[in-house]
Symmetry: C2
Subunit: 151 residues, 2 copies
Amino acid sequence: MPDHEFFMRAAMREAEIAATYGEVPIGAVVVRDGEIIARGHNMREMWKDPTAHAELIAIREAARVTGGWRLTGCQLYVTLEPCPMCSGSIIMSRVDEVYIGAMDPKGGAVGSKINLVESDAWNHRPTVVHGVLAEECGAMLKDFFRKLRRK
Amino acid sequence: MPDHEFFMRAAMREAEIAATYGEVPIGAVVVRDGEIIARGHNMREMWKDPTAHAELIAIREAARVTGGWRLTGCQLYVTLEPCPMCSGSIIMSRVDEVYIGAMDPKGGAVGSKINLVESDAWNHRPTVVHGVLAEECGAMLKDFFRKLRRK
């Protein structure tokens, strides 16, 4: 079975796609039984949709693929610490495990500003693993914003 | 200009539509300049989509209608206190004001379990008004679950 870095690299490829559209490069994949079943990348500006974050798109796609809203038995890989909305979608979809790349000190809701996901407040608590290819995931974002400032 | 109860009754009509599909009756509308620009009702089971909550659907629709992801100048009316995901979508969409019907002691993220929306942790803090037709909004849910138990 491929390892966590393998799947995080797939999420990073999604982030790269977002960057080609001028979107902030954040990507996510959903995995079940060792296979990627859904992918998503940030499309907020292109789709003009405040909910079009990588995780939410990947989770909706995974639900379509599995034919049910419960993503029990699934893992989510995301290049940046999820925001409150995406953290909520992780809880709502009952994903088993969440693998996170870089942290987001300004807007993260899985340990930075608050921790919505590793909480007993809700009727589902996924397992969270931080720091999978954190440096590489963070470097993508830094590069993107550096280039943006030069324009 | 119509008042808050007028718009909450429109959200309640959305909730009623959800109930006709056997969905938990929760409804939402988005208002701009005194007019309803988007509606949504819970469709989680029918759409097999963990993100298909009333608020998230209404917010996405409002973004489509306004042609941008920022719902500045908009109000959201929702019959039940939003969950963490929908609270996050309220923050992400930059809705100005949120009017809430009944509270959700078990899963609410706008005062019950936590308060994600009335927080200075994020770069947007909407105004929240609780208790708009709270009893009627709550009664719809109680009736729904009472009938469900009888089946």
